[in-house]
């Protein structure tokens, strides 16, 4: 299966990745090859098989009681943020 330049650009857009022009043909080749490779899965007869959602049979996601267990650490966490003001994360203006 050969992916087109437009398809790669669309996937990159969906993934919010800016690609350099030189990267596009590289990903065209390698993603096409990967999709051919995973196409082998079609050989398996899975008509009566349930998809596996969890590696351990019979276990499901646990719920915890709806109780406050954590302290407010926002100042500590925001030390890693690129841009903060008044306890808020800053991004370029989104509303004109």
């Amino acid at each position: 299966m050969a992916l087109t330049r437009e398809q790669i650009e669309n996937i990159a857009h969906l993934a919010r990745l800016e690609l350099q022009p030189a990267e596009v043909p590289v990903y065209q080749t390698s993603l096409s090859a990967i999709l051919d490779f995973v196409g082998e899965l079609d050989r398996a007869d899975t008509a009566s098989v349930a998809p596996m959602a969890h590696p351990l049979p019979g276990l499901s996601q646990r719920l915890r009681p709806d109780a406050v267990t954590e302290q407010d650490h926002h100042e500590l966490f925001q030390e890693n943020a690129p841009q903060v003001a008044a306890g808020l994360y800053l991004v370029p203006k989104v509303i004109e």
Binding site: A15, L17, L19, P55, L56, L59, R64, A81, V94
Partner: protein, 488 residues
């Protein structure tokens, strides 16, 4: 102080520390000096935390003097740089997190800290654990201590190289498709990937959440038992952590193997397996027969589909997990973004390396509208078939034994141009991840001067059995004691 202090097992180090034969500060300084002397050749570490290590070692010595502390008090350790470490840079091998100082400890780090370990630094790794050669790291490749022209394997290449060269007596690592076992095999050390859910994933930077599992890289199986006993256990902060008691993995070592049923998978002895590697595996199996085990050939017909199933499931989960790196809350942000979309796209485009972008895009594609059923759902069904194959096998045998990798270590640069050739390195290891099974790799000899790994896979939560099976082999052989000449 003995010149061969760095060659001691974990049990010997713990005994020596308690007997005041040497102090934790002396031991820590010894390993820090070994790391620094090797760094320009091996590049096994991203960060070396000398000051913090010596402070922690002094505290450990005070605990030892007062007969306080935990099971591992004063023992140095290297943490793979995928584990969050409070106040210390946690890069995950990526430019994206080059500026990230974790505000908290991952649960495995916290548990080992409580047991008394002293962190030496953060081990190098493939970027976001995506790679089988440690060549995708933003900080440059790690080199194999047995031959520095070769890769150490990956993604836990720094952890494996560090233990192989005895830059650290033990290291943490993670395994999503073979990232503990494959580098352990290529570097000639012992790697343990526990059952999915056995060790908490809290604070371990996520790649593929239904496959990721934390484990150990050590010189011996006995050392691994010592470390897993401290790392394992229920954690309410990880919703897939399993609430099951942790057995005493050390106490159960040494039980005789007479009557042990070992399965040999036809699919593991295929045409891709190097004949010299196969000889080493057969020789190891002969040791097990001498110990009273019975060998039985068997087949897991769906196992050959494990690599394609993995390369749908893992990239899908990766594309979702790595969506959190948005240039807003932490991590790399591009300069002068025009608008929000530009901020997202350029921050991610600049912050992620080529292989990580490839996997994010593969995952985005297989999850996108119109392709979900054909790829993702199909792969989850094949995953079920592979898991059922393993369940059937464990109805007949106790463990499966075979090769960890098709070949020994390969040259740096040899497989970087073709991703699929690289992906096929994990052909024997991925099955255990898809089925959530525990598995180990232990050294079983050499081919042309390079280590060969023996893989042992068991049913869910059979770590005690795997460790014992590995330990008894290591009592009969001395491959696990070999160290590259330069680091002896």
């Amino acid at each position: 102080m003995s010149v061969t202090l760095h060659r001691r097992t974990l049990a010997q180090l713990v005994a020596g520390l308690r007997a005041k034969e040497f102090s934790s500060v002396e031991l820590t300084r010894l390993f820090l000096d070994r790391i620094e002397a090797s760094q320009s050749t091996l590049n096994a570490f991203i960060s070396v935390t000398r000051e913090q290590a010596l402070t922690a070692a002094q505290a450990a010595d005070r605990d030892l003097a007062a007969s306080r502390g935990g099971a591992l008090t004063g023992v140095p350790i290297a943490h793979k740089d995928i584990f969050c470490t409070s106040g210390v840079k946690t890069s995950c091998g990526s430019r994206m997190l080059d500026n990230f100082v974790s505000p908290y400890d991952a649960t495995p780090v916290a548990k080992l800290k409580a047991a008394g370990v002293v962190m030496l630094g953060k081990a190098n790794m493939d970027e976001f654990a995506m790679g089988s050669s440690n060549e995708t790291s933003y900080y440059g490749p790690v080199r194999n201590p047995w031959n520095t022209a070769l890769v150490p394997g990956g993604s836990s290449g720094g952890s494996a190289a560090a233990v192989a060269a005895r830059l650290a007596p033990l290291a943490t690592a993670t395994d999503t498709g073979g990232s503990i076992r494959q580098p352990a095999a290529l570097c000639g050390v012992t790697g343990l990937k526990p059952t999915y859910g056995r060790v908490s994933r809290y604070g371990m930077i996520a790649f593929a959440s239904s496959l990721d599992q934390a484990g150990t890289i050590t010189a011996t199986a006995e050392d691994a038992a010592w470390v897993l006993r401290e790392m394992a256990g229920f954690d309410p902060n990880d919703s897939t952590s399993v609430d099951k008691p942790v057995p005493d993995y050390v106490a159960s070592l040494g039980q005789p193997l007479a009557g042990l049923k070992i399965g040999l998978l036809k699919e593991f002895f295929d045409k891709g397996l190097d004949p010299e590697n196969e000889r080493r595996i057969r020789e190891a199996l002969a040791v097990y027969e001498k110990l009273g085990a019975q060998l039985r050939e068997m087949s897991l017909p769906n196992l050959p589909l494990s690599v394609p199933a993995y390369y749908v499931v893992a990239p899908a989960e990766c594309s979702s997990n790595l969506a959190r790196f948005d240039g807003v809350r932490f991590g790399h942000r591009c300069k002068d973004p025009r608008d929000l979309m530009d901020l997202y796209k350029r921050s991610r485009g600049e912050g992620f390396g080529a292989e990580v972008k490839r996997r994010i895009m593969t995952g985005t594609y297989v999850l996108s509208a119109g392709y979900y059923d054909a790829y993702y759902l199909k792969a989850q069904k094949v995953r079920q078939l592979i898991t059922s194959d393993f369940t059937r096998a464990f109805g007949e045998v106790d463990v499966l034994i075979g090769p960890t990798t098709p070949t020994a270590a390969f040259e740096i640069g040899a497989k970087t141009s073709d991703p699929i050739t690289m992906y096929l390195n994990d052909i024997y290891t991925i099955g255990a991840n898809l089925a959530g099974l525990p598995a180990m790799s232990i050294p079983c000899g050499f081919t042309q001067g390079l280590p060969v790994g023996l893989q042992i896979i068991g049913p869910h939560f059979s770590e005690a059995k795997l460790l014992n099976v590995a330990h008894l082999y290591q009592r009969e052989t001395d491959w696990h004691t070999r160290v590259p000449e330069r680091y002896a």
